[in-house]
Point group: C2
Chain length 162, copies 2
DNA sequence: TTGGCTAAGTCTGTCAAGTGGACTTAGAAT
DNA sequence: ATTCTAAGTCCACTTGACAGACTTAGCCAA
């Protein structure tokens, strides 16, 4: 069934140049970067451990860690195993930790649309006594909880005409 | 300052094989796929419009659209401009729309850590009368709102030992 | 009925990036 | 001196991105 002509979508009038999603994806938008972040989020912090668990080529890992440091998402932290020289661990900074909602949202989506028979392999939980499962939800400033279809992206104050 | 040896992180005992983040990133984890999704989320649905706005090579766009269709995130929808033959638009399915929290979380992070002088170029808003800004927040099942440091990823029922 | 127009591809050669495997490095222990 | 290890570099190879030209299929005007 063919549709009547929609008017040109409003978004066509605005530039994609400075889009926040693009700029965020410049940093995260890479398969390996996400694998690295996952390892750091689950507490694996050493080069060799990350490499072996995530199956990343060394060169790529070196490059991605350097990029994440430069972007301020992680920092080096020296450690020393007994009988060995000092080495570096990589830890999330506050900026990195603040990606939690992104990762939790991804897990939530994946658990819904790519479920495993055995159940979710990874769960976000409230640390400490509480221990309850953590989810993300959308909420508007008036306190509603809009369903996906009730949400729309609109140009904000920083939008540039094309 | 070097640290005492941490015990081996618990995550090291579990496989990354079936990790939900990885499996989700198989689908989303690509710069261009995200650009395509952004266009669809802001309402740009036609091949040429997406290509031109996002600056995607045609071949790549063809390939990514096919992949998104196969994964069930988008579907083709025929349309007809006056005086032209029928063509296809691409629209988000429910599965695609349910990525809203992921995109909103990314925008929220980007607006915080990669801010523009002019303000956010893109805002998520509650459609219709409300029109208020939409954000995502983490919440645990006991009703707390944990800060990032209070959240932890733990192996769930589907976790596989290595 | 020919030729032009357009959106949506397809084709091609080039070049950058990812990849697996071997090699190197720097402290510490033997 | 030699060995060990985590971290990193080097190399050759292959895959994928890329820009630009070309193709296709309906519709229209002349």
């Amino acid at each position: 069934m063919s549709t009547a002509v929609d008017s040109v979508p409003e978004a066509m009038r605005w530039s994609t140049e400075n889009c926040t999603i693009s700029r965020t994806m410049e940093i995260l938008g890479d398969k390996w970067t996400f694998h690295v972040l996952r390892e750091l989020f689950v507490g694996v912090r050493r080069f060799e451990d990350i490499r072996a668990r995530a199956g990343i080529p060394r060169q790529v890992l070196t490059e991605r860690l350097a990029a994440l440091i430069e972007r301020g998402l992680i920092r080096r932290h020296p450690y020393r195993l007994p009988g060995q020289r000092e080495r570096s661990e990589y830890r999330l900074t506050q900026a990195g930790l603040d990606l939690y909602p992104v990762l939790v949202a991804m897990i939530q989506w994946g658990d819904q649309y790519l479920p495993l028979d055995a159940g979710p392999p990874l769960e976000a939980r409230h640390r400490g006594d509480c221990g309850a499962r953590v989810t993300v939800r959308m909420e508007c400033e008036d306190g509603h909880e809009p369903a996906p279809r009730e949400v729309a992206f609109r140009p904000g104050p920083g939008a540039q005409p094309r």
